[in-house]
């Protein structure tokens, strides 16, 4: 590690200032506000604010809507993670097997990552639109009546597909890099050792990919839980009947639409604690346990 000694005491602070200011204004300050507000309650007209202790949290834990949101979030996060990682791994294996045009396919497959979540949401909202979309038309041909406006399952499938689609690119890049760092001679040795392609994948390739897989698992859960706000907002807005109201969307909906700032802040604090736990898991296990 190289150490630089500044003779001027001010200069290092000036150099750090932009990052520090951004972190403070957009992260630390709002986070502190959320923690503070989670202990407060405003009256309906916003004229009086009183300290209520842990009442907001107690109310949350008794609220069936909040437990519904927890359940929806769990289903959503697991589905998005499994779908996007599964698809990404399949694509990465396919591209890894290619000798030529690897770069072309890689570039093309990375494009969806550049699409903003809200745009991705609208894109899939159009594709699956029950009146004008192409997919409901196709599904109708095989006898499935798609309607994500009235069907809870369809709505969940729509947001899962839209969210997973965006994340496939990211997972694909990591899986491909992971696959390409496995020496070809290992797979050749396994081939000579009498393992067929499927056997080779499960005995050699997949175990050697485990650090990548675990890293992506955490990243994808975090993505599904926190970064998918745009997708939900542009497609289902949490509906129908709370079926896609994941925790991060509920924070926004209860706070900004429902104007229940106290409860919304308490939910934010719960989310912050979840991020904290995931971060600890990430560092503890990725660094140490998942190695060979």
């Amino acid at each position: 590690m190289k150490r630089t000694i500044f003779s001027n005491q001010l200069l290092p602070w000036l150099l750090l200032a932009p990052q520090l200011i951004i972190t403070f204004v957009f992260f630390l300050w709002p986070a502190a506000q959320a923690v503070r507000q989670s202990f407060l309650r405003e009256d309906a007209f916003g004229t009086r604010t009183s300290f209520v202790g842990l009442e907001n949290f107690a109310y949350l834990l008794q609220s069936p809507e909040y437990f519904n949101s927890l359940k929806v979030t769990a289903i959503f996060a697991v589905s998005v993670t499994v779908l996007s990682m599964g698809m990404a791994l399949l694509l990465a294996i396919a591209v890894d097997r290619m000798i030529r045009s690897t770069r072309v396919y890689t570039t093309l497959l990375v494009w969806p990552y550049a699409v903003a979540p809200a745009v991705a949401g609208i894109l899939w909202w159009f594709i699956f639109n029950p009146t004008i979309g192409i997919m409901p038309y196709v599904l109708a041909q095989v006898g499935y009546d798609w309607n994500h406006i009235s069907s809870k399952t369809d709505a969940m499938m729509l947001v899962v597909i839209a969210s997973a689609w965006k994340q496939i690119s990211y997972n694909f890049l990591f899986f491909l890099a992971g696959l390409q760092s496995i020496p070809g001679s290992l797979r050749e040795a396994a081939a000579i050792d009498g393992a067929g392609p499927v056997r080779r994948f499960f005995d050699i390739t997949f175990p050697l990919l485990s650090p990548t897989t675990f890293f992506l698992l955490v990243v994808n859960i975090v993505y599904a839980m926190f970064d998918t706000f745009g997708v939900i907002d542009a497609t289902t807005e949490g509906g129908p009947a709370q079926a896609t109201n994941i925790m991060v969307y509920k924070v926004y909906f209860d706070g900004f639409i429902g104007q229940n700032i106290g409860s919304s802040a308490a939910q934010s604090v719960v989310l912050m604690i979840l991020v904290l736990i995931l971060t600890v898991v990430q560092f503890r296990f990725v660094e140490k346990k998942v190695a060979y």
Binding site: S185, E188, A189, I192, D193, G194, R199, D203, P207, Y292
Partner: protein, 335 residues
């Protein structure tokens, strides 16, 4: 155990690049054959074609009496030792050794027996429960060989197995491989770019150049009667002196010769010798010294005993039968 026959074997890559062409080698049962040549001569491609890791574009590979051109690597009854060892990093040494047997549905007690045998032969017993990352280079090399011998295959294929080891360990492992092969009598095909390794290990060596076989023979045959100027320059250290024939016009029988070769040890210092050499540099090897010099614009090297007197210019002589003449067009040996 089996013989291996390469019959007019060739490899053409899509796009038309020819890596190997017209290779004929008959390997007897139990024989140790070394493929040697400079990098890019096609020796690894040839080995991988025998292993089944590279498709065969021309000719045939036969192991025993069976043509194996279309046979999967696993079904060719061969074992391969890779340059980087290719040990499975997430498996213990024991699992590494057992993996090939497990895939072939070998009974458990049989696997245990063979792993115990192999680990005794290679003295890797104490490491059986370690992961490859916890082993030294030489130990990994042993495990890689162990993985080959537990399978009791018809043939061993070695792809530059010693090139990742340091010089001292390389010499030790070379001897171990030789002893192991003599003991197991398993047909072996060994690829290296190191001519010393080739000379010391081979029953017969195959010198390759540009995807073609230059010469097949026992190490001494190849050393004594190199079939071409290329083989002459490649086999032997220090390399054979090759002098353009036009530099010595008075020599009889050299009308069609392009190059004349003589081994450094076949030159001797005599006061009235016909070759006058100006000494440029001396390399001390301990038991002997290499004297590098120039005669008539040609570089020349001689080996002398370490106590031989040195001077700035020396007169050299040679026995006429020590000369090797190579044809000026083909570069092939002329007698």
């Amino acid at each position: 155990m089996a013989s291996i026959t390469l019959d007019n074997l060739g490899k053409v890559y899509p796009g038309g690049t020819r890596a190997v062409g017209g290779v004929n080698i008959d390997i007897a049962d139990g024989e140790f054959i070394v493929l040697v040549g400079p990098s890019g001569c096609g020796k690894s491609t040839l080995l991988r074609m025998v292993a089944g890791l590279e498709s065969i574009s021309e000719g045939e590979v036969r192991i025993g009496d069976r043509v194996v051109n279309k046979v999967e690597p696993a079904d060719r009854d061969i074992a391969m030792v890779f340059q980087n060892y290719a040990l499975y990093p997430h498996m213990s040494v024991r699992q590494n050794l057992a993996y090939g047997l497990k895939n072939r549905k070998t009974p458990k007690d049989e696997i245990e027996k063979r792993v115990a045998q192999a680990s005794e032969i290679l003295q890797i017993g104490p490491f059986l429960d370690r992961k490859p990352a916890a082993l030294s280079g030489g130990q990994r090399q042993r495990v890689a060989m162990g993985r080959a011998i537990v399978r009791e295959p018809a043939a061993f294929l070695f792809d530059e197995p010693l090139s990742n080891l340091d010089a001292k360990l390389r010499v030790a492992m070379r001897l171990e491989i030789k002893e192991l092969q003599k003991r197991l009598r398993t047909t072996s095909l060994y690829v290296t770019h190191d001519q010393l390794e080739a000379m010391t290990l081979a029953d017969r060596l195959v010198v390759l150049n540009g995807g073609q076989v230059e010469q097949i023979g026992t190490p001494l045959d190849v050393y004594r009667r190199p079939a071409s100027a290329f083989v002459a320059s490649f086999i032997g250290s220090p390399a054979m002196n090759l002098i353009s024939a036009s530099a010595v016009p008075h020599l009889p029988g050299t009308a069609h010769a392009g190059q004349i070769g003589i081994r450094p040890e076949d030159l001797s210092v005599t006061p009235d010798g016909p070759i006058a050499m100006n000494v440029l540099a001396v390399e001390e090897l301990g038991a002997q010294r290499l004297v590098h010099g120039k005669t008539g614009g040609e570089r020349i090297t001689i080996t002398l005993p370490s106590d031989a007197p040195l001077s700035d210019s020396m007169n050299l002589s040679f026995r006429p039968d020590a000369l090797h003449l190579f044809h000026k067009d083909s570069g092939k040996r002329m007698d």
